[in-house]
């Protein structure tokens, strides 16, 4: 376990009087798809902000590939909840944003990103503006922008939360397929239990604030998972839902 891609050991964080994270320990192995589920306001996005370097943690430690995570190292590629596409940049230039920030020239970055457009279902839309794309397509652009940064892990913050139910279901299947074909390490933050169960190898359930890890689920089923195949998935889903509902009371 020492060579985990990401390891949080008893991480805590407070804002003045408000204790947000009490004791959060979790790990993500290379090539794994891990989800963090929790009630709203539990501190899911605080964990993300610690990982992107936007916040510093107070106690515990965060390790990346065995070494302490520096706040300015930018080891992870972050995909925010809303797509955060720049309306003034064409689709291809939105996709290259991370590479340009890393210092690559726009021409070189375009050349590198271009071959991926077909696989992301975006071929022919390179010269469009974000306002011309549907919600699902915009999220695919956002994921493309995240993936091409070639960071050691993808941080997805409720990536499909703003989509309608049907598009969300389609995008979850699509992401599941993409993850199977690529060697991505993913940490997904979500409050959608079904989404977490469908996509993840492992799921951590957070307690309400101040957050600690309440439960931990292993889902040792192959990907991509059929929508109505195994009876294990609905059982786990029901169990997690029950756990979360009990918390509310």
């Amino acid at each position: 376990m020492s060579k985990a891609r990401l390891e949080l050991r008893s991480v805590s964080k407070r804002f003045d009087d408000l204790e947000v994270l009490a004791d959060v320990s979790l790990s993500v192995q290379p090539g794994e798809f891990v989800s963090i589920l929790g009630p709203s306001g539990a501190g899911k996005s605080t964990i993300l902000q610690l990982l992107t370097g936007a916040l510093r943690y107070d106690g515990g430690s965060i390790l990346c590939d065995g070494a302490p995570l520096e706040s300015d190292s930018h080891r992870f590629a972050f995909m925010p909840q809303r797509d955060a596409l720049m309306p003034w940049r064409r689709i291809i230039d939105n996709a290259t944003l991370g590479l340009e920030v890393q210092g690559m020239s726009r021409a070189a970055a375009r050349e590198k990103v271009q071959p991926l457009f077909a696989e992301f279902g975006l071929a022919g839309f390179e010269r469009h503006y974000p306002s011309q794309l549907s919600g699902g397509m915009r999220q695919r652009v956002a994921l493309l922008r995240t993936v091409v940064q070639q960071r050691s892990m993808l941080l997805l913050d409720e990536p499909f939360g703003a989509l309608d139910a049907l598009t969300r279901a389609k995008m979850q299947r699509w992401l599941s397929g993409m993850w199977t074909r690529h060697d991505w390490t993913v940490l997904l933050i979500t409050h959608d239990v079904r989404e977490a169960v469908l996509l993840s190898d492992r799921i951590y359930v957070l307690s309400p604030r101040p957050a600690s890890i309440l439960r931990h689920y292993d889902i040792p089923l192959p990907h991509p998972r059929p929508p109505a195949g195994d009876a294990t998935l609905p059982a786990i889903e029901a169990d997690i839902l029950q756990t979360l509902l009990t918390l509310e009371e």
């Binding site: 992107t52 955060a84 720049m86 920030v101 503006y129």
Partner: protein
């Protein structure tokens, strides 16, 4: 796409414009009829036809005075834009300065132009300088507010995303805050350009060698309301043209904002 949008754009301009054209024509016709049938003296109120004819006879003088006003407007406005941009940068990067400087800028907006214009002419003479100063005085603050507000309108998610990628503060400003401010900038520009013409004419009215302001003053002193109105008409046209130019500029600078909604 471009051909269709251009032709539909032109027909839309026509369909949008006809109510305005009709109401303005009706107003001018009523004015003409009133002057013709009420027997009012032409030194009190001139008919639009007389304004048009006299204005046309004076076209060379009007043109050269208009050119002077245009020059003062554009010079003053450019200076004001540069200053507003520099100060907006300063206020964006050094937040505490806002509290120190904003009250000063607000005070400049409370000064009555009638009182300030003659003083500025007194200090800077009859040349171009007092016009530039007055135009800048009336347009600087609206432009500054537009820019500062525009920077603030930047999507927090986009800034957080750039920061997570390792972008510096300067990089975030150039890549996110500056383009986010464009719609606000152009809204400010449209308002300010109309103030700018009025400011220039006011400065000329207070004392100048050339310009529509001094032309209006002379025409009034010579009991020529027809020429006053001709100059007013020219200045209104000038303002409309400058306004149109800012709209055109915005369309060129923000191509993404006018892309027809097309969703696959």
């Amino acid at each position: 796409m471009s051909m269709r949008s251009i032709s539909s754009g032109t027909s839309r301009v026509f369909s949008d414009a006809w109510p305005a054209v009709t109401s303005i024509s009706a107003l001018i016709l009523a004015w003409e009829a009133y002057v013709q049938f009420s027997g009012i003296s032409p030194t009190a109120l001139s008919a639009p036809s007389r304004v048009l004819i006299q204005g046309f006879e004076q076209r060379e003088a009007l043109a050269s005075h208009t050119l002077a006003t245009l020059q003062a407007t554009l010079f003053g406005f450019s200076c004001s834009l540069c200053a507003a941009f520099l100060f907006s940068l300063l206020l964006d990067f050094f937040r505490p300065l806002r509290r120190a400087l904003f009250p000063v800028f607000i005070i400049t907006q409370t000064l009555p132009l009638v009182a300030i214009a003659p003083l500025v002419v007194l200090w800077f003479g009859f040349g171009l300088t007092p016009k530039i100063v007055l135009v800048a005085l009336v347009t600087f603050f609206p432009m500054l507010v537009a820019l500062v507000q525009g920077f603030e309108s930047t999507d927090r998610d986009i800034e957080a995303l750039l920061a997570s990628m390792g972008a510096s503060r300067r990089r975030i400003f150039v890549a996110a805050r500056l383009p986010s401010a464009l719609p606000y900038f152009f809204a400010g520009l449209r308002i300010s350009i109309t103030y700018a013409v009025v400011g220039a004419i006011f400065a000329e009215y207070a004392g100048a060698v050339r310009g529509l302001g001094i032309y209006i003053l002379n025409a009034k002193n010579n009991f020529r309301p027809d020429l006053v109105l001709a100059a007013v008409f020219v200045s209104a046209t000038l303002t409309l043209c400058l306004f149109g130019a800012t709209v055109l500029l915005q369309r060129l600078a923000m191509p993404w904002a006018r892309i027809a909604e097309f969703k696959p």
